[in-house]
Amino acid sequence: MSAETNHPRLVALQREFMAALREPIYGGSRELTALPARAGAVSPAFTALADREIRSTPALDAHERLELYHRQYWYRLLDALDEDFPALRRILGETAFWRLIEAYLEHVPSRSYTLRHLGVGLPDFLQLNPGLAAGRPVAATELARLEYALCDSFEAPVRPPVPVAALATAELALQPYLRLFAFYTPADELWRGPAGPSAADDLLAMRDGGPAVHLAVFRHQARQHVQRLAPGSYAILQAIAETGSLAQALDSTAATTATATEVSAWFQSWTELGWLCEPETPVPSSTPAI
């Protein structure tokens, strides 16, 4: 029999408690955050949970005690996203950024044991909710993708690089810590540069209608980097990721206008950075089944 059926009341209590934590915060709790003003109050369910389950003390009533957990939940998650998306905050501006983050947390709960993964759904959420992007939906979405890739790259594994002599014949893959992007907007410049929303708009206006921006996000010597790629370089890397074969990658990208010298320089750079590696081979688990 499952724990669910063994302990239905305890499971129900924990569900109710979690639902209370995930409600928006109001009043004094909200004033201690950067969230924009929002009228309202916690739901009757929140109040009923506190009244029914939690003891009051002379110092704090049941509602205040539940509210301590409620506000800590929000403060912790808001801080985590603020830390992971600093450039997005800059280009959206304070009000729009915090409105977006609050909406995201209301709709997309954390599904990971670690706060490092909290922002995993933010780029897609932005794409689905362009009205939350302060008039810059494409730029904001692409910048969010870039910033989350930096978080993701931080803890991705490293696989053995393929020696130069074996590149032509070996099965190839790209390092798991390497992420490739073809963006409409200069997300790398937005990430590095503008101090605020209007400066971001100026930058976007200058680049409006320009060619696609190809980027690599990767880790090297324990630091994350963002590097712009030539279109041909991006195409070959992307083809290697898809086919696992250097010959097929070069065939499929034969239309690229790159010269032999350029291609040679790209390969030299990739091998120096160790980007071309062996594909993942499934390893049998050494731990017993639970």
């Binding site: 305890l10 499971v11 924990q14 704090l60 957990y69 912790r76 985590a80 954390s110 803890e155 594994p157």
Partner: protein, 289 residues
């Protein structure tokens, strides 16, 4: 006096929590530290800088794993994938024992990232004990469960927190990570005598202790780990050492983290209480250590 079976027959002294702002100092200066406590979830990754640093730390120091995400108080049971990842890390770090908090924090796969309170009932104790038994059996090393700071009590509770803790560790046959700061914080928030707590836990099961600072507000205390340890917590710690004997102790400092030397100096204050305790404990007990 505690039983060494709860520490895998290892005796450790005063340790420090391994935190990112201190990586550079530790790797370049190689300070003399008895052991480092790592947050398991920070290293349950496939690679990257956390692993690279951990490998270097493990080459020189004993590492002990402390978790924040197993949630043995989860009424739906443990997350099996989490447990598998934890075991992989245990095999890598060779931690002598492992600890996590007596709390819950996720339901239906949604995570709060907090250490949430439990009703102190027989049914809840049975759930926690069952989860801890599964974890300890699967991980194949001693498990120590830590008392958390709390800000709410449930009307359904039928026992004190220390009775609840004692019942769980007896039923699960596991150790205790006694956080004396958490006892102090909860005692103020709930209005109980912290000494009564310290005096009534099963001392022979205390494998490790935590000390830390906290933030005091007008009507409550929040366990923030961002200040030095206050005198009443040192006094509780001294009493806990009297009752449990010299026990591996870790200073937690997780926010507004000062320099490594400042954190280390604060941790080493615990050594005074150790020395006093060793000088005053019975000869037989001293020989056991």
């Amino acid at each position: 006096m505690n039983h060494t079976c709860f520490t895998n027959f290892q005796s450790l002294g005063i340790g420090i929590g391994l935190r990112v702002p201190h990586y550079g100092h530790i790797l370049s200066q190689r300070p003399t530290v008895d052991w480092f406590e790592i947050i398991s979830e920070n290293y349950m990754v496939e690679g990257g800088r956390p692993f690279e640093v951990l490998e270097q730390i493990m080459a020189q120091y004993q590492v002990v794993q402390h978790g924040v995400g197993l949630y043995p108080g989860s009424a739906q049971g443990l997350n099996r994938d989490h447990l598998r990842k934890l075991k992989k890390l245990v095999q890598r770090t060779k931690t002598p024992w492992i600890s996590d908090h007596l709390c819950w924090g996720s339901v239906d796969g949604t995570y709060s990232h907090d250490l949430l309170p439990l009703p102190y009932t027989r049914e809840m104790a049975a759930v926690c004990a069952e989860n801890l038994r599964i974890a300890q059996d699967f991980l194949e090393i001693p498990f120590a469960v830590e008392n958390v700071s709390s800000y709410a009590e449930f009307k359904d509770s039928t026992m004190t927190e220390w009775e609840f803790l004692a019942e769980i560790v007896e039923r699960a046959d596991c150790g205790i990570l006694l956080d004396v700061n958490n006892i102090y914080v909860s005692s103020v928030n709930h209005g109980f005598n912290p000494l009564e707590y310290v005096e009534n836990v099963p001392h022979e099961r205390v494998a490790q202790m935590h000390i830390a600072g906290h933030s005091r507000y007008e009507r409550f205390i929040i366990d923030t780990h961002d200040h030095p340890v206050i005198d009443p917590v040192w006094k509780l710690y001294a009493r806990a050492l009297e009752l449990c004997g010299p026990t591996a102790t870790l200073l937690e400092w997780d926010d507004k983290i000062p320099s490594f030397d400042e954190v280390h100096a604060e941790a080493l204050k615990a050594g005074r209480y150790w020395r006093h305790n060793l000088e005053h404990q019975p000869v037989e007990a001293a020989r056991v250590r």
